[in-house]
């Protein structure tokens, strides 16, 4: 199940994202939370310890590259996803894993 949580800044989307992640994990789902906000604070909302937060590294942009396919462009992984998650995902309360993305490229494929 892949979910995206969006909303105007200050709408409370991070609190809802964190609480939903924790609840789904408690119900037995493996949960991978991804912080895609340029001002990331999902780690705190998830209740990660200072130690867990300090071990978080942002996933660099170069794990993906833009490929031209005819008139379409798409992002493809440059490294296996297992490698990326094992290097960058940090496990927090209730077993929720978190990855923090580096600023998303707005000029990407439209």
């Amino acid at each position: 199940m892949k979910l995206a949580v969006a909303g105007k800044g200050g709408s409370g989307k991070t609190t809802i994202s964190a609480t939903l992640s924790r609840l789904l994990a408690r119900r037995g789902h493996p949960v991978m939370a991804v912080d895609g906000d340029p001002n990331p604070n999902l780690s705190v909302a998830l209740g990660m310890s200072r130690e867990q937060r300090e071990s978080l590294m942002r996933v660099p942009k170069d794990i993906m590259e833009m490929k031209e396919e005819g008139d379409a462009r798409r992002l493809v992984m440059t490294r296996p996803v297992e490698e990326v998650t094992s290097e960058y995902a940090v496990e927090g309360p209730d077993g929720v894993s978190l990855m923090v993305m580096t600023g998303v490229d707005h000029a990407g494929a439209g």
Binding site: A4, K8, S11, T15, L23, L24, V31, I63, D94, G108
Partner: protein, 156 residues
Amino acid sequence: MRGLLGELATGNGGGNAENGETVTLTDMEASIEHMSRATIRHVDAVLMVTEPYFRSLETVGRMAPLAKELGIPHVWAVANKVRSARDEEIIRSYCAEHGVEVGGVVPWDEAIQDADREGRALMDYEPAAPAVVAVGGIADLLENNVGGGNGRGERR
């Protein structure tokens, strides 16, 4: 980012296969219209969190058609910081006018600010807070409606 999300969706995303499909939940930048379409195209559901104010609702009004155009199977508004029946009504009527389903109503909850002041998770600060209960309802909604057509309602 879509590349990563797409990959996480197809494999088990590094999760424990015994426990079933990994849930990938992305806390997006404010609004999906700022993201490249390629980023969001492959999600199963979008939750658009909104407060009972016009400018917040307008964001929903702009995002919903884009999400639907991209073919995202489930697009829900989530009413947040709702203090009164009037607040809820404002959100419900806006969403009805714009053809957006309301997936949950989360009440205004002092526990959120209190937890935030202490730098703690709401789940740890007050696990039975009304806002947590309401988000539990959203988890029910997702388990029952999203996820490879094999509904996970039985997991509750």
